[in-house]
């Protein structure tokens, strides 16, 4: 099995999807000739042609809207929005069209579109290039939201998203893009949207996270005494999310810490916390804790690591939850 980075795995998967399904079409700013700002689509235009890997003008509303137009006509469109912050101009099309088309037409018109968006901080980029807006899109009915953190998951989730009959926002944590390699199977496989992954089994406390903080959580766990046993869950799908896996774990451990990069207030952690409290109330030994970004704008790079939930802060959160 070849080893791939997250970037490599996504590139490989898009290549496969283009090869196997003539309905798949990629569009975005500089994704073709230039191969994308993060080189995620490198070489794909040369291989599959300008008709299928399309360089667009700089117009997010136009990209998103025309990707929806393609999708309602039956294509599997895969638009790229260059950075998290640039979803702004595309927001109207995404939530007011993509998310509502099925309901509006009672299923007669659907949007099999996959929106790829690099997300999150940790690469010394400024605001608008470091944000984590997953909760905003999870809040809108009709849209699915996923965020893989590993190359293997990235492939399975991307194929699932492309083949999903509904619109999926596929967030790619930039901090992980090239941070490590792992073996990725070459065949076509899907990972079910809505299924979490237990990264590490444990008995004392459940940590729920997604995206780049998975690795900060692992680093924090390394710093804990050997006799502390943590169950780490990578949610992978933000909406729909795997309530069963999370709640089963919390019923076992009795404690839960949620970690995400987005600001605390109305972050997706608030939803997870609320559900855990509803479903696991009698099993909880401590209040659910959240270790997150702050309710501030993502700071410029000098303070970036103070803002992000890094290992020391996660460790402290775990310790406090354990000591409650």
């Amino acid at each position: 099995m070849p080893e791939m980075t997250l970037v490599g795995a996504i590139n490989h998967t898009l290549d496969l999807a283009l090869r196997n399904d003539p309905d798949v079409i990629l569009l975005g700013e500089d994704i073709g000739l230039n191969g994308g700002v993060f080189r995620v689509t490198d070489g794909l235009q040369a291989k599959h042609g300008r008709d299928r890997v399309v360089d667009t003008p700089l117009d997010e509303s136009g990209i998103m809207g025309s990707a929806i137009g393609l999708a309602i006509a039956g294509m599997k469109s895969v638009p790229e929005i260059q950075f998290d912050g640039f979803l702004g101009p595309a927001y109207d099309q995404l939530v007011n069209h993509a998310g509502r088309m099925r309901t509006r037409t009672r299923g007669a018109v659907t949007v099999p579109m996959t929106v790829r968006v690099p997300v999150g901080g940790g690469i010394h980029a400024p605001e608008l290039h470091s944000d984590s807006p997953e909760a905003i899109y999870a809040h809108h009915p009709g849209i699915k939201v996923v965020m893989p953190s590993t190359p293997r998951d990235a492939k399975g989730l991307l194929l699932a998203a492309i083949n999903d009959p509904d619109p999926v926002v596929y967030f790619e944590p930039k901090r992980v893009y090239r941070s490590f390699k792992e073996e990725v199977p070459e065949d076509l496989y899907e990972i079910e949207i809505g299924k979490a992954k237990v990264v590490n089994e444990g008995d004392d406390l459940t940590v729920v996270t997604w995206g780049a903080p998975v690795f900060q959580c692992l680093a924090a766990m390394d710093e804990l005494p050997d006799d502390v046993s943590i169950e780490l869950i990578d949610l992978r799908s933000i909406y729909p999310w795997d309530i069963d896996t999370v709640c089963e774990s919390v019923r076992k451990t009795g404690r839960c810490v949620i970690v995400h990069e987005a600001p605390l207030t109305a972050g997706f952690g608030a939803e997870v916390s609320s559900r855990v409290q509803e479903e696991c109330f009698l099993h909880l030994h401590a209040p659910v804790q959240r270790v997150t970004g702050f309710d501030t704008i993502m700071p410029f790079y000098k303070l970036e690591l103070e803002y992000l939930p890094e290992a020391p802060r996660i460790k402290k959160g775990i310790e406090e939850c354990l000591a409650y």
């Binding site: 700013e29 500089d30 000739l33 230039n34 700002v37 360089d55 003008p57 700089l58 117009d59 997010e60 509303s61 136009g62 912050g85 640039f86 702004g88 101009p89 010394h124 980029a125 400024p126 605001e127 608008l128 290039h129 605390l264 207030t265 401590a286 209040p287 804790q289 959240r290 270790v291 997150t292 702050f294 309710d295 501030t296 704008i297 700071p299 410029f300 790079y301 000098k302 303070l303 103070e306 803002y307 802060r313 402290k316 959160g317 406090e320 409650y324």
Partner: protein, 376 residues
């Protein structure tokens, strides 16, 4: 406020281009040379500092486009609002921001123009009427319309500013954007609104031929006739060579004066070129080295320098002196940025989000259940 569309030909011809240039003193020409060279030198040191990882975030170099900011800002008054995109170091310096404040901002230091919070893409200088530095491409265009709306309102409704000559003081807003930005919806909305409301704003397209890695003929329709976009909204529109600052100024100054006098928007297709990659990380697969060289041969600084030397206003020696002074100024800025203190977490991470401190922002509340917040 009149809302009827104003036809282009109703614009008073204030001044011809040729007349404009003869009124410019040698001192002013020397100042243009100095301002452009300052930007060039500043950008050279910026690239160096970026490569040494002293500057973080994204960084877009203005080299090659100096005449655009210097030549257009020269045609305005110090309190005319200016707003631009993320390739903004040149505008900041031309507007009068100190090289120190600009450099320190990129270094993320508290002595920067925005305490190191905005960085390279978000240069702001409120005293000098520079309203950014904006990262979302095209999104500054309606802001420009809004700035002009405010000055028109102050002028016509509040009747605030009155010039010594007792004429109402109409400001003109300069709103810069790239050729890529004209593809954005916000741009079209802003042009329509500005024309409909007679807003005194000039949309200056710094047309360097590329939207990141996409050449203009691949990213915008009817690319050879950009002025048609302005004209389609009933806006007076001109195309100007942005590599020749004298020509630029002589065309732009009367144009801007007319927009000011008539309280009408303007549209300028300012043809220019950027020497460096789109940002500091750009393999530039989309253009040839020859093309870059071709434009470097038309360099706006070299052109003005040659003209001034031919006219005897500049000598090899005085040019050396000027270059040395500028180098010292920029080296001082780098040194200043380097030795300035970094922002402190408590002091800077949780401030400037709202006017007053808010309880949720404090680190002590971030994950503590029921923790006491010192701000409460």
């Amino acid at each position: 406020m009149t809302q009827a569309p104003t036809a282009n030909n109703r614009m008073a011809k204030a001044h011809s281009s040729a007349e404009t240039l003869t009124e410019v003193s040698t001192e002013t020409h020397l100042k243009w040379l100095r301002d452009m060279q300052l930007i060039r030198e500043f950008e050279n040191r910026t690239m160096q500092a970026y490569q040494q990882a002293k500057i973080g975030g994204f960084c877009h170099i203005y080299s090659g486009q100096e005449a655009c900011a210097v030549g257009t800002i020269a045609a305005t008054k110090q309190d005319d609002p200016v707003v631009t995109a993320y390739r903004d170091h040149g505008h900041a310096l031309a507007r009068g921001m100190s090289a120190r404040a600009c450099m320190a901002e990129m270094f993320g230091k508290i002595t920067g123009c925005a305490k190191g919070k905005g960085g390279s893409m978000h240069m702001f200088d409120r005293p000098n009427w520079l309203f950014g530095g904006h990262g979302i491409v095209g999104a500054q265009t309606p802001l420009g319309a809004g700035l002009a709306f405010a000055s028109k309102y102050e002028n016509e409704v509040l009747k605030k500013g009155v010039h010594p000559d007792h004429k109402p003081k109409q400001k003109i807003t300069l709103c810069y954007l790239g050729d890529g930005a004209i593809d954005q919806g916000a741009f079209h909305e802003a042009l329509n609104l500005a024309s409909l409301f007679d807003l005194p704003v000039i949309f200056i397209i710094e047309n360097n031929g590329y939207s990141m890695g996409t050449a203009i003929h691949r990213h915008t329709a009817n690319h050879e006739n950009l002025v048609a976009r302005g004209e389609s909204y009933g806006i007076d529109s001109i195309k100007i060579d942005g590599l020749d600052i004298r020509h630029l100024y002589s065309e732009f100054k009367p144009f801007a004066d007319r927009c000011r006098e008539n309280s009408r928007p303007g549209f300028v297709d300012l043809k220019t070129y950027r020497y460096q990659g789109h940002s500091m990380s750009d393999p530039q697969k989309y253009r040839t080295k020859d093309e870059v060289e071709e434009y470097k041969n038309k360099d706006s600084i070299a052109r003005l320098l040659n003209q001034l030397m031919e006219e005897g206003s500049m000598t090899e020696d005085s040019w050396k002196t000027m270059q040395n002074e500028i180098r010292d100024e920029v080296l001082d800025a780098v040194e200043f940025a380097e030795s300035s203190p970094a922002p402190e977490v408590e002091a800077e991470l949780f401030t400037d989000v709202y006017a007053l401190p808010q309880k949720n922002l404090s680190p002590t509340a971030e994950y503590h259940h029921g923790a006491r917040n010192p701000l409460l």
